[in-house]
Symmetry: D3
Subunit: 237 residues, 6 copies
């Protein structure tokens, strides 16, 4: 039995609230149960120097947690001179996921930065961030089209992400913190609206996992991402 | 005429929402018009080494802005190795203001860290932060008393803060960003519930100001802080 | 046809040379074709403070590249104050992989640091590093047993790693640099001698990949790791 | 009674020695009693990039203390990667104070950097620095006019600064270290030769202060700055 | 008697292996007994900005040690934000030594970076590095001439280096670690093929040394460098 | 002919002024012509952790230049996170030189830090610093003996330093900046009062130098140091 009494293939309650940041070109407050991430998409006046002359744009992401997003207060990374390895890994993952469904030349030589700031953390912050970031990016592109900065929608399709894991020997979907910290295997899946895999990451925290278990985790993830994409569609309808 | 059509001595709409962070011992989302600051108070298991044997506690504050709290996206400070001078100046100001009304020995040898994270910035973020931080600290002390960690309330009285400035030659209260960036003089006042001055900071951005102007700014601030303290009292009632 | 004319499921020539570093407790120079990694295992007199009283040991890894390991010279990371995100990600992966097959309490409260320094890089440096690091760690434990520092072998089984990818639409094993930089999908698999999965990482660099492709990559990896484990067995025989 | 037996409105002995640095375009060694600050003004061949095309110049300041300027040796800031928050706050204050009396377009697109290095510290270093920096800047402008780099004097008027505080319940002028470290309220005032206020900073170190006390501190400061400006006039005569 | 039983004026076995790095324009693995240094020379597509328009090229060097090159593991410098003072001192010494025998205008406006990475350290790493770096640089210039990037050989003559010291009261040549750590005086000499002195560094670790001792150290060094230059000549023959 | 018209073996005017810093246990303002260095010796309440239990003390040095000590303003090192390689090299040299004449066990388990801050730089700052630092250290030990912190003088003898160089083909003593920047060879010598060599550093900036030239530089240095030691004796008389 899961701590939350959810079924093994059951998502937490997911909400996607748009236009929550007054100044951003696109924004979304995404919640997966008690996990809350504020995603803002910012059109940058000028992108990195290497974009010039390339004929295409770029989408990048940054990720951070408020210090008291967590059960115990976490120290700010500002004093250590660089984001931690974990933070960098997550922000590269979010950026890659968004670029996998974006037609970069359609943006022109501009950069969109999607900031994902975790307001409250109860497991699955990176997958919630990807799911919400897609909405913020979508709304940023709508804003740009409304001002004729771009003429066609650079988004080719949806992208969303979910975590799975093996908890007390059983594969389960969408781990909250209590499950995540006790899981034997922890996996994250990023998939597109049409079912393509963008990223698969599975890690044995304790004993190694089998190929059969990997395939079961993938099946659970597929079901979860289908629901997330459906919620994204409702949100932007 | 002010951009917002407010009277010269009129505050923006101020709200103080308590218990907004699930894990923090005390928290408050404070808004001054479009300015929004999330304040959380965290009881730290162990304070800095120099507290040991001192017989008293400590209250400190940290301050940060989300990158897209601002009209244009602001770069995160994480890559520069240290908070900027402005950030450090603000967090020291918040800490001093809270300690000015706290009976430190009553906390015991513990540290409370109040994090003030600006979700949206439209001027006056440091004064909003002080006003909301007092609520978060108050609720943290209530939580500690509820668990018998401390026996008496360490808060001696209220503290709140407000900005004033000389805008187009006229002293006005509670500047929003559009006024703040055009003001000739910019001032911040931190006062206690009983009317004592904790901090006065006045800076001529353009031409110097006179003693009469300083006194008028002080008069406006006093009226503003009185209203803020009254709102704090309602919030904790 | 692959640039090297190898079959799709064919490894490059792999060699594992032991005892190459005079002062290290265990060492291995591993080559996967033109990729060369020097792995040394160092018994640290005292581990991190959190080990004390835990009753168990720790295995950690560090990873770096010589500046001219690469086709074009790469700048040293020493000037940037911290290893890059990529470096940190790789060294965490190596450490996790080794710990997955190590009985930590059998080490006692000591730390082994395995340094993996890339002398020459032609793709697959992280998987070569894991494969060679296991040998270095094995020899370090043998050295410790020879001096009665530990009484039983802390290694539970072998661990090795290999990269796969989809190159020109076809899944292939053990990508060299020319393939890796052109692959549509890039994946790394870490597996134990008994066939358990320790880590699966698959990333679509261009278009998303399908579940069928993931399973084919996994099948290739399984064959590759079996050969690597067999080479490890010969090396330590 | 003050430790130095000075009257409440009595400055320490103040000296302003010009041309003390052989290579600087302007320089001044300022002493307020035992506090000694070496101020040098340097004309920079080229200013920051944002000056280009602006049609105006810039005056900035840097501040530092020699390690044994203080009673106990202070660690150098060089190892911490950035000036401390206190240092940054002081150097911004000095810069703002000088710019408040400078006609920036009259400098042309050049930058003057005024370095204020504390040789010995006995309280009031920032106010001594501002008072001496004005002389160094004045002499730098004279040097520039002598070489026809500029044609009119960019200085509009004098600027000087003084600290005040409430010591044992009594407002006093120009605190030395022994008073400063024991004062209940600490304030700094920057004023122009014509009596305008450039900066007012008052902080309650212990109990809050009243409006009447603030006004008395301001009165003391006004008397002090008048004497300092008079000494500046003698120095440049 | 020396620990290695060598005569006082006897070098360790020295080897110079060329073309050991597949991608570098020139490379050399140099060994002085158990000390092993990998030297690679890289032609940089573009040098530092100050080269432009100078009409000449530049040769620079970087130096580092693998963590387990040493008897005890040494921490990597990557976490400290800058090479240590010792590392910087050594890399400046190597660069100066190479430039002393290079005709910089003959390189054109290009930079050659010679990386000296210590694989194993048993004393004398900086002198071995200089001796091997000359070979790598020589081969880089040969490579450039082969591609008609330059037309004449920029190398004017050989350069090599050796350490000497006073060990148990006796001047000896080419100290290994066991001698170096116990020597009363430690000296390094860099000389050209024609016998000119490029650098002399002598340091009393314990009691001061006399002029007569300095001259004896110099005599030993001259003999050692003559042998090293002779080995360089054989290596490139 | 030298720019200053000095004879080849002639020092600049050297002065050693004691007790120039009010709070330091020992201090000396040393001038070599226009070069001015303020040296302060600070008894540190507690030394580095590794001193504990060692039964001996430590003498260390720090070195810095004021930004406008130089002809052109030099940027402060505070923003770069670490002293430059040059600064570290100099401060290690000063520390070694002082320790070479100090009986460390006679200090007890304490640290003396000698700060050498260059007020004005006209060549030879490191040698002036060593010469003045000896006075500051001497006076610090006198202070300690006066308070019975130590019972015997830890200084075994004098130490002083001087630069020499080959300027326009001629060996000369005590180079000022104009000579130093044009010299073909630059050398620094640190010697004790009894004539022992503590440190010899000679560098060919352009063409290599000969053994005969090295010996002539040494002869000049010996004469210079003898005069400096004589001035030190007068200063402390």
């Amino acid at each position: 039995m899961r701590p939350s009494k959810r079924a093994n293939d059951e998502l937490r309650t997911v909400t996607l609230e748009r236009a929550v940041a007054r100044y951003a070109e696109g924004s979304c407050l995404v919640t997966f149960g008690q996990t809350k991430v504020l995603c803002t998409a910012s059109l940058e006046e000028r992108g990195p120097p290497w974009l010039r002359g390339s004929g295409k744009g770029w989408v990048t992401a940054e990720y951070s947690m408020l210090p008291r997003a967590t059960h115990e207060r976490t120290r700010r990374e500002v004093n250590s001179g660089k984001p931690s390895g974990r933070t960098q890994e997550i922000q590269r993952l979010i950026g890659r996921s968004l670029r996998a469904v974006t037609n970069l030349p359609a943006i022109g030589e501009r950069q969109i930065t999607v900031d994902c700031d975790v307001i409250q953390a109860d497991g699955g912050t990176r997958t919630a961030a990807i799911t919400g970031a897609w909405i913020a990016l979508h709304d940023c592109f709508t804003w740009m089209r409304g001002r004729s900065i771009i003429s066609v929608d650079p988004l080719r399709e949806h992208v969303a992400a979910i975590s799975c894991g093996i908890y007390k020997g059983t594969p389960v979907l969408d781990l909250e913190y209590a499950e995540d910290s006790a899981a034997e295997t922890d996996a994250n899946f990023v998939m597109t609206g049409s079912g393509g895999l963008v990223e698969v990451q599975g890690t044995a925290e304790g004993k190694p996992f089998s190929e059969a278990e990997l395939i079961e985790l993938l099946r659970l993830a597929r079901g979860g991402v289908e629901q997330l994409v459906s919620l994204q569609k409702q949100a932007i309808a």
